[in-house]
């Protein structure tokens, strides 16, 4: 087990290296010249050249890549071209709302989607099953921003249950923090819930056909025990896998959701940075997101052993 963890952690190094190379190449691939952007409209070619030299943009690619990687390893993501602040500090300021949004969405989605999928499989073919499946199709096909605005309109403007937009830090209390996150989480969670519910239903349908379910019934086990103890644990591996893969959906969706609900998080930071061609910030955020994704999926892989004793590393 320990050896496996070490091996998996080491295996993330090449993955992150490739991501880093790709992120760094953005500067070269993307159209537009950051030096010209910084210099502004009135700059002379000499000004642009000077800025380019000061940014080190005139040196060979590999040299600059090497330096960049070493700086990152020391925890230095560079300085924003636009604000002149260190990228790490900008990310640190914005990370709480995004992290909160993703964690709340994750909990909300899992606690809604898994029971939904289980019940759909148990009552396969009934109206409950059809309703769950219809919801899943809806969840997949309606974009986050449409759901977001609709939710904000009804539950915030009309009913006044939740704030329309904005973010309250966790430090100011659980209630205000959560009330600001409910609508964004529901909006962001739609696709995610649909995905998890569908995979839960499909896997449970298969598990419920197994001989050991019949054994459990022959023992006198009740319906709940059968579904949630005997069946769900057997269905867990595909479900947690899709939960891990779905984190990518959350990252992508967070960018849009934060814009809809005016949440000052990493998503907004990313959008702003892209609009301003603020490459150090873009690079920093992408690296962070990739790292989180790789880490989450590593944890998911390790969690398999909790659910299935036949999996041993």
């Amino acid at each position: 087990m320990f050896a496996y963890i070490v091996r998996r952690v080491l295996a993330t190094i090449p993955v992150m290296a490739i991501v880093a190379l790709f992120v760094f190449s953005l500067l070269y691939i993307a159209p537009g010249d950051p030096a010209a952007v910084i210099a502004g409209d009135q700059a002379t070619p000499a000004d642009v050249e000077r800025i380019r030299a000061s940014l080190g943009l005139d040196r060979p690619f590999l040299v600059r890549f090497g330096e960049w990687v070493f700086r990152i390893l020391r925890g230095d993501l560079g300085v924003s071209i636009f604000t002149n602040l260190p990228v790490t500090r900008m990310i640190a300021q914005r990370i709480e709302p995004t992290l909160s949004l993703m964690v709340v969405t994750l909990f909300l989605a899992i606690s809604i989607a898994v029971p939904m999928g289980v019940v759909a499989a148990w009552k396969a073919g009934s109206w409950i099953d059809r309703a769950v499946m219809a919801f899943a199709v809806l969840g997949f096909s309606v974009p986050v921003f449409v759901v977001g605005y609709l939710l904000a309109y009804y539950f915030a403007l009309e009913l006044d249950w939740f704030p329309v937009q904005g973010y309250t830090p966790f430090a100011e209390g659980l209630g205000p923090w959560l009330s600001n996150l409910v609508l964004p989480s529901v909006a962001l969670g739609g696709v995610y819930i649909a995905l998890i519910a569908r995979i839960t239903r499909a896997t449970m349908l298969e598990v419920l056909q197994q001989d050991y379910i019949r054994t459990a019934r022959a023992k006198g086990a009740g319906q709940g025990t059968m579904l949630f103890v005997h069946a769900l644990k057997n269905a867990a591996v595909p479900i947690v896998t899709v939960i891990g893969i779905g984190v990518a959906l959350l990252i992508g969706g967070a960018v849009v959701t934060e814009s809809v609900f005016a949440i000052p998080g990493l998503g907004r930071l990313t959008v702003d940075a892209i609009l301003r061609r603020d490459y150090p910030v873009i690079q920093g955020v992408i690296l962070l997101f990739s790292f989180v994704y790789v880490l989450v999926n590593l944890l998911i892989d390790l969690s398999y052993t909790l659910f299935d004793p036949r999996i041993r590393y």
Partner: protein, 330 residues
């Protein structure tokens, strides 16, 4: 009153095309306390469906049960699902054919044996585990204290069937239904499991309904035999009588199809007798004798009039117009 009295049991399944599959069609039999009764027949004769019907494990719909199944005088078909759950695994328990797939792969052996105990006897987690160790010892699994913490994939097929038996016997059931308990096992392991079942029957005293297609198994453990064909009982007798003087042509055919050890060595070999043809489809109501289409003695009478079960010899019934009737002690 017998322990189990099945009367005119009908287990029908609606098929997707709107038809009805009469898997069990009017079956009656009874089992006395402590008795071992075997139900034999080919695949598809309805013997497994019968066993599942007794515990009401048939999904309804598409299944539909009719008739009555009285256990200690109570009709199981009239009980609520909740009352039925209190009987399953407690007063009536079941061993299945496939030990490799009948145990839950993600729960420990101890949890799976303990589950019935916790459900029916209200034992705590630690009491249930202690009892599970005891049960494993009873079914002859070495190092039981270590095994309770293991998972099914760490055990061999024979060991898993022993675990299944331990689960079934944990709550001291009055009736044990064993559906092909040895079919999926190696021959040497089969003998061990049969020995174990015989020993346990003596110590636990449960009645056993043994479902099998293996006549060798029947001869070894059963006291009484019911022969099923196409969802019906065609013959029933004490095991010695059935083997010595089978009355129904189907039973005769079954016995003729069993190879005898050594018969090919002494040169007296004949071809194994086979029963020509296939089990008829159960989707149509069969007019006349169910076995008529494959019976070497069938006449027009057989094809038109269904023979009733008739006592052909003392405690020996068969459903055949032509089976020889011995002097029945009046």
């Amino acid at each position: 009153m017998a322990l189990l009295e099945v009367e005119n049991l009908q287990t029908h399944f609606r098929t997707p095309d709107g038809g009805v599959n009469r898997a069990v069609d009017g079956l009656s039999f009874s089992v006395e306390a402590g008795e071992t009764v075997a139900i034999v027949g080919e695949s598809g004769c309805g013997k497994s469906v019968t066993s599942m019907s007794i515990l009401r494990l048939i999904p309804e719909p598409p299944g539909k049960l009719a008739g009555s199944i009285r256990f200690e005088g109570r009709d199981l078909l009239k009980l609520s699902e909740r009352e039925m759950r209190a009987i399953r695994g407690n007063e009536i328990s079941m061993i299945f054919q496939e030990p490799m797939t009948s145990l839950n792969p993600v729960l420990t052996i101890g949890q799976q044996i303990g589950e019935a105990l916790r459900l029916h006897q209200g034992l705590s987690k630690s009491q249930a585990e202690a009892k599970a160790v005891e049960m494993l010892t009873l079914v002859g699994i070495p190092a039981p204290a270590k095994r309770v913490k293991e998972y099914p994939h760490q055990l061999s097929g024979g060991m898993r069937q022993r675990v299944m038996i331990a689960i079934a016997l944990a709550c001291n059931p009055k009736l044990l239904i064993a559906d092909e308990p040895t079919t999926a096992l190696d021959v040497t392991i089969q003998a061990q499991i049969l020995d174990l079942m015989r020993d346990l029957k003596r110590t636990v005293g449960a009645a056993i309904v043994l479902i099998t297609h293996d006549l060798g198994v029947v001869a070894e453990v059963a006291e009484r035999v019911i022969v099923m064909y196409a969802g019906r009982k065609v013959e029933e007798a004490r095991v010695e009588d059935l083997f010595r003087t089978p009355k129904h042509p189907y039973t005769q055919g079954l016995l003729g199809a069993v190879p005898k050890l050594g018969s090919s060595l002494d040169g007296t070999t004949e071809r194994l007798a086979e029963i020509p043809g296939l089990v008829p489809s159960l989707k149509q109501k069969i007019q006349g004798c169910v076995f008529a289409s494959r019976c070497p003695y069938a006449t027009d009478l057989c094809r038109e009039v269904a023979p009733a079960l008739e006592e052909k010899a003392p405690r020996h019934v068969a459903a055949c117009h032509y089976a020889v009737k011995e002097a029945v002690a009046a």
